[in-house]
Amino acid sequence: MKADPKRVLTGEHYLDGDHACAEGALAAGCTFIAGYPITPSTEVVERISERIPTVGGIFIQMEDELASMAAVVGASWSGAKALTVTSGPGFSLMMENIGLACMLEAPCVIINVQRGGPSTGLPTLTGQADMMQVRWGSHGDYEIIALSPNSPQECFFFTIKAFNLSEKYRVPAFVMTDECVGHMTEKVIIPEADKIELFQRRYTKLPPEEYLPFKPGPNLVPEMVKAGDGYRIHATGLTHDEKGYPVMNWEAQEKLVRRLVEKIRKNADDIVEYEEEETDDAEIVLLSYGISSRVAIPAIQKARAEGIKVGVLRLIVVWPFPEKRVYELSKKIKAFVVPEINYGQIVLEVERSVHGECDAILVPHGGGWVHNPEDIYRGIKEAVK
């Protein structure tokens, strides 16, 4: 299915990352956004709240982030492509209902414009310290999908990707951007609508008497119905069977949770996406994501100019993590160098994935600014020692 030309602002624009996310959401067919604006993500909802009524859709400013996320789950089940947007403190408040979205398999997109934390931290300054929270922040076992853009142009495309993946796998998909990318303004090229491919949600063709709302279909993903279409359905956060009714025993738990996890793990090859560069004879591979992957480039260039063989594995999709590729590379290199604006999150996943085959060297930054490329360069130098 192609994007609707009415919703796509085709042309060359000079936009900040937040506004580019908004345009991406509209192009992706987002028809519902509930939010409680918070710095530095406010500009996303500011733009959508102006634009969405003109293209068909609803923006609701909610009373808080708990309600925002709850409204998104409900809207998703009613057939909407639903979105919410937040930053650190709001993200924490959304965790409970993000778990509900996972359990109800409600396709939805959450944009987190990360800022410095913990707590209220640095409202107007950048951070990348919610990367583990996005994966594990709600209780229980589940999988999610998360992408991380490093420019306004990518904010546009990755928001569309997030909607597509979310619809395909019926799972919350996250755009983990940050204040630096959200507030930087650059050229954004928005293509023609017919160049934007959208994944269409799979609705059942079965009659109501045969339909089971949680019976796995293709890729372990059940087919949906829209609330209000005449199907009597039950959706609950309690462990449930294929009918959606609560079942309180380990067998039902095993069947359900296993599928929630496997629908992502077994399809990881389809979901995982990264950019790889000069890894063939690399000694060192710089693994990064979001803004850190971009400010690392001058450091990589400087190291290469000195003859150090530095490859790049830049994550587009951070979760699920490309553990297979990281393991393959680990067998032929000395170390991964991992710059991130936190004190060690994705580097832990790298350590886990290399199984002791090579080093994983963190180049941390506490937040509030991006790395000085010199610090990353020093990390590379340390790695070749």
Binding site: Y14, T39, P40, H183, M184, T185, K187, I291, W369, V370
Partner: protein, 182 residues
């Protein structure tokens, strides 16, 4: 690479000025330009600044480090940011609002009564665009055509004519100044 800081106080259209420079460079001059700006309480009403990094190819590091060009439209902004200007940098000021305290020999220094010109045109709100035209003529960082094109869509439609006139006035003032000094 060119690093630019536009500074003044909140409400003068400083960010807008930076936005138009970035848009002109990246969309109409075929370069890459990244605009960042000061957020938070420090940017409300007091010294305020927009930063633009312009590159032939892709801008990698999005922030300015040592700006090559400083535009100062308030005394406070001048005081705060002047010392950070590159040794051989270019300094542009609104001469009625900024009294330079010390003259650095190596820098290139240009001044224009941008706010006065805007007032004479009937609205001091366009002082930033007068400065933009002046900036364009003096620094040649963006082309005149790109600057004018970038004004469309960046200011309210009913004020486009006024803004284009303001741009041209600033541009001509700059051109004249250059020809007199050469």
């Amino acid at each position: 690479m060119t690093e630019i800081r536009i500074s003044g106080f909140g409400g003068q259209g400083i960010i807008r000025c930076g936005y138009i420079i970035g848009k002109a460079a990246s969309i109409y001059d075929g370069k890459s330009a990244t605009l960042t700006q000061s957020f938070g309480p420090e940017a409300r009403g007091s010294a305020c600044s927009a930063q633009v990094v312009i590159e032939k190819d892709r801008v990698l590091y999005p922030y300015i480090t040592v700006p090559n060009i400083l535009v100062a439209m308030s005394q406070e902004a001048y005081t705060k940011f002047e010392s950070n200007l590159e040794k051989n940098g270019i300094l542009l000021i609104d001469q009625d609002l900024v009294k330079p305290e010390k003259r650095r020999d190596q820098i290139k220094f240009y001044s224009i009564p941008a706010t006065r010109i805007a007032e004479e045109m009937g609205n001091k709100i366009i002082a930033n665009i007068v400065m933009l035209g002046f900036f364009t003529a003096v620094t040649k960082v963006i082309t005149k055509e790109a600057g004018r094109k970038a004004i469309f869509g960046s200011v309210p439609e009913r004020y486009i004519e006024l803004n284009l006139k303001a741009f041209d006035q600033g541009y001509e003032f700059g051109k004249k100044l250059l020809s007199e000094s050469s």
